[in-house]
């Protein structure tokens, strides 16, 4: 029997962490991290979990300790946010190249500066090339469900790639929502035991981890990482299907909302997808063929699948909650357009930067994006393809 509760996204992930019960959790326990490690450390203090909690002096140390722990053969997790993730940067690449399936709960918040602590995707987008799987959530429920599925994807023998389970800062991390939790034993059975194929603390079989790779090896190592990353798509779909059997909730690479016959499709990721769906519902009532595609898995990017899902759209609007300063598009706009181009498609695509650093995202503001799409369709003129939403001036 599922357990009905009302929890913030941070509490929900902390509960998932307790249920998954990894062996070790090194984490920097104070700001810029959210209250997530604090919730989890109270489970440790109260004897409600067997996980060893290692408070460290920085996020760089947290990820370094994760690497050591996971390489030693222990299932390892951590949590961070914003500039805490930025401070892990150097070690994120090391974790990925060593093929250590660590799970990291990320609460997406702006990177300073200007100094700000509110929701946007700059932290995770900065880490998008580090070789980690990145999965995003719209709701607290999805954040919880994604964390329960994390190790099944990351540890799969065809993958062996670390995974970030992302949720939107404050909007879901601190916002309380109704949620359906799974029972402890159900999660335990679903996640299963961790059986690494090799591990550093194995006296029967010595090995060295993280060697220097000179030019004859480095490119082959990177290609091998890329193959593991690509395999994560198939594995995530399989794990999602299994998860549906225990939860009744369906997960794929992305979610299509009223896209089947849609002329105008918004591609969006994270909590604003909920507002987007409301916007679509309103427009549908007015007879506008609006739809929404919510990206769940951002790395690896399901480009072929997304291009296929967008094939009948007249105009597409890609929504980026970050600025990447390439002067022409944001990360989602960039990836979606590349996917369409590779599929031989050239629909009209607008790209919006929205909701930076906690700027409100409303049915009205997202509605204006659909108005713009209709305008472009009517005039045949795309105009400025890279726009800022709700910008004064």
């Amino acid at each position: 029997m599922a357990i009905r509760d009302r929890l913030s996204g941070n509490e929900a992930i902390a509960k998932a962490m307790r249920q998954v019960c990894a062996d070790v959790m090194p984490a920097y326990p104070i700001t810029p991290s959210t209250e997530l490690p604090q919730y989890f450390s109270s489970f440790v203090a109260n004897g409600q979990t067997e996980t060893v909690f290692v408070p460290v002096e920085s996020e760089h140390s947290a990820m370094s300790a994760c690497i050591g722990s996971e390489a030693a053969g222990a299932r390892t997790m951590s949590a961070t946010s914003s500039c805490g993730l930025a401070y892990m940067w150097e070690m994120l690449y090391v974790a990925a190249s060593n093929r250590l399936p660590i799970a990291l709960a990320v609460v997406n918040r702006a990177l300073s500066g200007p100094i700000n602590i509110n929701c946007d995707h700059s932290d995770a987008m900065g880490a998008r090339d580090s070789g980690w799987i990145q999965i995003f959530a719209e709701t607290n429920q999805e954040a919880y469900d994604n964390f329960v599925q994390a190790y099944r994807i990351a540890e799969h023998e065809d993958v062996k790639i670390p995974i970030m389970i992302c949720q939107d800062g404050f909007i879901t991390s601190h916002g309380v929502q109704n949620i359906e939790l799974l029972e402890d034993d159900v999660v335990k059975n679903f996640v299963g035991e961790y059986n690494p194929t090799s591990w550093l603390l194995n006296p029967e079989h010595p090995e060295a981890v993280g060697p220097y790779t000179n030019p004859p090896y480095y490119m082959e190592a990177k290609y091998s990482q890329m193959v593991g990353m690509n395999n994560a798509k198939k594995v995530a779909v399989e794990v999602g299907a299994e998860f549906e059997k225990i939860s009744g909730r369906k997960y794929g690479l992305f979610e299509e909302y009223k896209t089947e016959d849609a002329d105008y499709i918004m591609v969006i990721m994270g909590s604003a997808a909920g507002t987007g769906k409301d916007t679509v519902d309103g427009l549908r009532e007015q007879g506008v063929k609006a739809g929404l595609l919510k990206i769940r898995m951002f790395r690896p990017f399901p480009g072929e699948e997304i291009a296929q899902a967008l094939k009948n759209a007249k105009v597409i609007a890609c929504m980026d909650r970050t600025e990447s300063y390439n002067s022409q598009d944001g990360p989602i706009g960039n990836d979606v357009k590349a996917a369409l181009f590779n599929a031989g498609m050239a629909p009209k695509v607008l790209n919006y930067v929205y909701g930076l650093a906690g700027r409100d995202v409303t049915v009205e503001s997202l509605g204006s994006v659909f108005e713009d799409m209709q305008e472009v369709d009517k005039s045949g003129n795309v105009g400025d393809t890279y726009r800022y939403l709700s910008l004064r001036g």
Binding site: S198, P206, A208, V209, G210, P216, A221, S224
Partner: protein, 100 residues
């Protein structure tokens, strides 16, 4: 389990790389001939050697083999020619020569 270390040469295909480039097995540093890096070379003058063995723990690369309590000539597969042994020897039984 993991690909044989013998396959991990410079011609290795990506499919044959160990996961995360793990070096499978212990003591593999032996197979890496760091002696190739040597510029100056130590010479062991056996007549002057009192077999005090002080040079042995000073060698940073275990390149002075010891057998039956006596040091032998250098392991030139691994000696990088750093000269620490020559500086440590109290009896001038090790001298550094220019070149390999």
């Amino acid at each position: 389990m993991i690909t044989d270390i013998k396959k991990q040469g410079e011609d290795v295909k990506w499919q044959d790389l160990t996961p995360g480039c793990i070096i499978d097995g212990g003591g593999t540093a032996k197979e890496f001939n760091t002696g190739e890096w040597r510029i100056d070379t130590p010479e062991f003058i056996e007549d002057k050697c009192k077999q005090c063995l002080i040079c042995v723990p000073f060698c940073p690369d275990s390149s002075i083999p010891v057998e039956d309590g006596k040091r032998l000539d250098f392991d030139f597969d691994h000696c990088k020619g750093c000269g620490i042994c020559a500086a440590a020897c109290p009896f001038d039984a090790i001298v550094m020569r220019k070149g390999e």
